[in-house]
């Protein structure tokens, strides 16, 4: 029997979360290298409705764990369903998104199974591994690559002796495959085993809050740090962003200092972004922050401290007071962008 690579499918209002499609894209690649089956595990009330799009995005096999009581996520019943399925089908690899849900569920499942798990991977590969002391060789195992220590190091983690090899993967770093409606796959319906005791934790209210910011798709980000100093000054950041058609980001220091809501946070514990232009205002450039934005195509740093680490990764730097410089940028942009050209608005 062929080995299996599993992807946990996260749902958002009975739609497939983007991260799950990204995992299928990477999972397809891993399964092909191992000559394995790529299976998607979906738990829910109407999970079957999502089977076809999962197949179109790369899955060979769909395991459906459908039950009225499994409609919305809670930790204990989902853990039970997964550990039972894993014990039965013994997948080689099991991937989940490093989302709030995935980071709640995955470690509990791994602990129950006593298997290794690596959090927040940014890359996954299949390779051989030789243990340096015993010289024992492990063939075709999962290389789990992730930043650690506040983004200062990149670690490659292996767990060659336990199965499945589990990992959670950061959102937005893997690519989903374009859907192919002609792909074929099999759908396996499973009767999930439930236990009444698992339902002692109850969700009494669930509220979706519209994300105030979509940093991941923004082409330009204007971000503020502790150097912005006050909520009033942060209005300058918003003003510049609205002038440039940009999203507003923030460092952890600014969020923790209460200058701005944590939805805006960029960095190791916030969003990872790759805009074409990143304007860092009053951000010193702690490694945690740099880990989340260093791949921006162009970085402008504005900071009064010419020694601030942010200048080491910036392409353009202005040493000075942001409350003076930002208004100058707005003035210059308005003058140059409307003046010299044909006058028509550029599409963004």
């Amino acid at each position: 029997m062929k080995r299996e690579v599993w992807v946990f499918v996260q749902r958002e209002n009975n739609k497939i979360a983007e991260i799950s499609l990204e995992l299928l894209g990477k999972g397809r690649d891993l399964a092909d290298k191992l000559d394995a089956v790529l299976a998607a595990i979906i738990i829910g009330k109407k999970a079957h409705e999502l089977a076809s799009p999962l197949i179109a995005h790369g899955a060979d096999r769909i395991y459906l764990a459908q039950h009225e009581q499994l409609d919305s996520y809670t930790t204990l019943p989902y853990t039970r369903v997964l550990v039972n399925l894993i014990s039965r089908f013994k997948p080689e690899i099991f991937l989940l998104g490093a989302t709030a849900l995935g980071r709640d569920l995955a470690p509990r499942v791994a602990s129950y199974l006593k298997v290794g798990i690596t959090a927040d991977c940014t890359e996954l590969k299949i390779d051989h591994y030789t243990e340096p002391l015993s010289k024992e060789r492990y063939k075709n195992i999962l290389m789990q690559i992730r930043p650690a220590f506040g983004g200062n190091i990149i670690a490659t983690i292996v767990n060659p002796k336990t199965r499945p090899q589990m990992a959670t993967v950061r959102e937005g770093v893997m690519s989903a495959l374009p859907p192919d409606a002609t792909r074929k796959g099999e759908v396996i319906n499973l009767g999930p085993e439930l236990a009444e005791e698992d339902f002692k934790v109850q969700v009494v209210e669930r509220k979706a809050v519209e994300k105030r910011v979509d940093l991941k798709t923004a082409g330009i980000i204007v971000a503020g740090g502790a150097g912005v100093k006050s909520r009033e000054n942060f209005q300058l950041i918003f003003k510049l962003a609205s002038c440039l058609g940009a999203a507003v980001g923030a460092s952890r220091a600014a969020v923790d200092g209460g200058l701005i809501h944590h939805d805006h946070q960029i960095g190791q514990t916030g969003s990872t972004v790759r805009p074409r232009l990143y304007i860092a205002c009053g951000i010193s450039g702690a490694v945690q922050h740099r880990a989340g934005m260093s791949e921006s195509k162009k970085i402008i740093a504005i900071n009064p401290d010419s020694e601030a680490p942010i200048f080491e990764i910036a392409h353009y730097g202005i040493v000075g007071d942001l409350t003076e410089i930002i208004p100058k940028i707005i003035t210059a942009y308005r003058a140059k962008n409307s003046g010299g050209k044909s006058g028509k608005l550029l599409p963004r």
Partner: protein, 298 residues
């Protein structure tokens, strides 16, 4: 009703204290230049436990696993209001991944008296895995509520909390005992209290007590008596090694860790070409002109 709370804390290198001095010329971080500190998120966990104690009565016990010097964060917990502190330290606990760490912590928790609540920070700032909390909950067979922002109700053995989700938030009810992981914006951790600091700066582990007596050339057979005196004054930090716990050694430390680090690469976060502009109208104008010309603005 009074509640017995446990807070799990970790001593971490302070990666937020990264300054130019802690950076090497090649752009990598010099870890030894960083001070060891109380993991930030764990202070939020401690704060929430202390608030429960203030509102309902009970006790707060702080546990950490780490090298001997990790006793420092236990003293810091005492300064802030912890009743009891426990250091789990043993070479055989070292180099543990999250599975082995959660196993060791869970064995120590089982050795304590019954608990009602366990508080953890959302994640440690050095590993950022957020795994140990849920894994400890699983090992103890209790429910978990992660990413908790607020406890809105606590009565008759039932807790109601607001937790963050991928879409927004949800309000969850769970019976006790259970484990919570706390997000950093949940509260503002209190600073050390001056009076408690004066009192508990003398708190120490038996190992620290022994080396102090040795320094003072006192007889080592007095260590036990000295510890007894410390204990009476509430100044003894409990210290447990593997022998003190009913623990399976092959599930601790490196040997209990299924994940191995194959390779570590230093990240060099350096930019390419760098251009500096003066903070003047002309300087800013030149920069904007350049970005307009290469279509960076769109």
């Amino acid at each position: 009703m009074a509640y017995h709370s446990i807070v799990l804390a970790k001593q971490v290198p302070d990666t937020t204290a990264v300054t130019v001095k802690a950076m090497r010329k090649d752009g990598t971080l010099n870890r030894s230049a960083l001070p060891a500190t109380f993991n930030r998120d764990d202070l939020n966990a401690l704060e929430m436990a202390l608030q429960v104690k203030e509102d309902h009565g009970g006790t707060v016990t702080v546990i950490t696993m780490g090298p001997r010097m990790a006793s420092e964060i236990l003293r810091e917990a005492l300064y802030r209001g912890a009743d009891e502190t426990i250091l789990l330290t043993d070479k055989r606990f070292a180099a543990a991944d999250t599975l082995a760490t959660s196993y060791t912590l869970s064995v120590a928790i089982k050795k304590l008296r019954d608990f009602d609540l366990i508080f953890c920070g959302r994640e440690a700032s050095d590993g950022n895995t957020a795994q140990v909390g849920p894994q400890v909950a699983e090992k103890l067979g209790v429910p978990q509520i992660t990413y908790v922002e607020k406890i809105s109700r606590l009565e008759e053995g039932l807790l109601e909390a607001t937790r963050l989700t991928d879409q927004g938030y949800e309000i969850v009810q769970s019976p006790l005992p259970l484990l919570l992981t706390i997000v950093p914006h949940a509260n503002e951790p209190r600073p050390p209290a001056a009076k408690r600091l004066m009192r508990f700066k003398k708190a120490m582990t038996p190992t620290e007590a022994a080396s102090r007596l040795q320094r003072e050339a006192a007889f080592t057979n007095k260590v036990e008596i000295f510890c007894e005196q410390l204990k009476e004054k509430g100044l003894l930090i409990t210290e447990w090694n593997a022998e003190a716990l009913p623990i399976e050694l092959d599930r601790c430390g490196r040997s209990g860790s299924p994940t191995w680090v194959k390779k570590i690469e230093r990240v060099v976060l350096m930019g390419g070409e760098y251009k500096s502009f003066p903070p003047t109208d002309e300087g800013v104008g030149q920069l904007i002109q350049e970005l307009i010309e290469d279509h960076t603005f769109g």
